[in-house]
Symmetry: C2
Subunit: 197 residues, 2 copies
DNA sequence: TCACGTATCTACCAAGTGGTAGACAACTGG
DNA sequence: CCAGTTGTCTACCACTTGGTAGATACGTGA
């Protein structure tokens, strides 16, 4: 069916556009043009812009959660290695598609309704992460500090690096293959330095 | 004169509104209403929205640079103490006014023209910071890594913490006085862990 | 007093916004 | 072959957007 594929294409394009230019900066006509369809077809699949935003948020959350959960499960016992695995796993999709985290970041300025929607979605992961940090701190395998805030600062670092290539470029960084490899290496070392007890 | 004060009030309100809701999410009418004036008065002082955005960016850069430069000069020799001083100095204005860094962050999705404008403005500070990091790494007083990327990641962390209280609140953090104090303490420790050789 | 510059206003406008109503194919199962 | 569903379309609409034109009030120096 071409039908469902249209829906998916709308979601994909919306994610990219919302994430890079902001929800308010993108009109339904813009999305329609990217998809190669008319605005009214978008309103057929999602009966309002707000609905579309919700769906796109879910879509983004799916993509991120899948990657993160896989990475968490894949590694063994050491917390530093585990976080490192998550950083690596997240790095590729995030830098290749700044819109992904860019959209999550957008959420802070949207209706509280959208916010709660996403929050509910991410909450289990957040809580699990927090508990995990806490127990590992007790075992002395992570630097002792507030686990929730540590998670927040890690998120801020990774999200910032992923969503603001513009800033890095101002620092003389280049977005080519070598640059990306270097960025990932430095990010991993940075995070490790942050966590080591 | 009420005149110049109107101009300044437009700048202040615009900074807050742009920074929190995004440039595209704020209309001239919105700003006008906040200031208590008509839209045409805004267009009298700034002859287009783009001009206003430029002026607001300058305004924000001024505010940040002043604080940062003062902090850099105030401290003595140790690089960790120096960065710590900058973090502390920036912390108050940034969390009390998320719009400040929020606007800087906005810049990535605006016209390249605006971007270059701001870039030119911040470049000297960026370069100085980079050189400083480099020399201190040579002297073994900072963890050895790429100085530019280190600066980028520090920026990402601090900007993220300052501009995304929403995320921190999802982690159970509260924005009261005690919460702010705790956040600052954790942020300082985080940054220190990042820099220590 | 009067011409002039300054700061603000009301009254518009063209373009773009999200959204509705309904026509038109294209495909289904009976 | 036909009735009904599904997906897309054209044609609108009410409202908001950034911006223009011009009137009004208020000094202020000659």
């Amino acid at each position: 069916m071409t039908a469902d594929s249209t829906r998916r294409r709308i979601l994909e394009e919306s994610l990219d556009l919302f994430g890079t230019r902001g929800v308010d900066g993108v009109s339904l006509d813009d999305i329609a043009e990217s998809v190669g369809v008319r605005k009214q077809s978008i309103l057929y699949w999602f009966n309002s812009k707000a609905t579309l935003v919700d769906a796109v948020l879910d879509h983004a959350a799916d993509e991120l959660l899948t990657v993160v959960e896989a990475a968490v499960r894949s590694r063994g016992d050491d917390p530093l290695a585990r976080v490192d695995a998550v950083v690596c796993a997240v790095f590729r999709p995030v830098v290749r598609r700044p819109a992904l985290l860019g959209l999550v970041r957008e959420v802070g300025r949207l209706d509280p309704r959208h916010l709660n929607h996403l929050r509910q979605r991410l909450d289990p992961v957040i809580q699990a992460c927090r508990c995990y940090f806490e127990s590992e701190m007790h075992r002395g395998r992570l630097r002792r500090c507030d686990p929730a805030l540590l998670a927040g600062m890690l998120y801020a670092t990774v999200a910032g690096v992923g969503t603001e290539p513009v800033v890095l470029e101002s620092l003389g960084w280049t977005a080519d293959t070598a640059g990306l490899r270097q960025l990932r290496r430095e990010l991993r070392r940075y995070v490790r330095a942050t966590l080591a007890p």
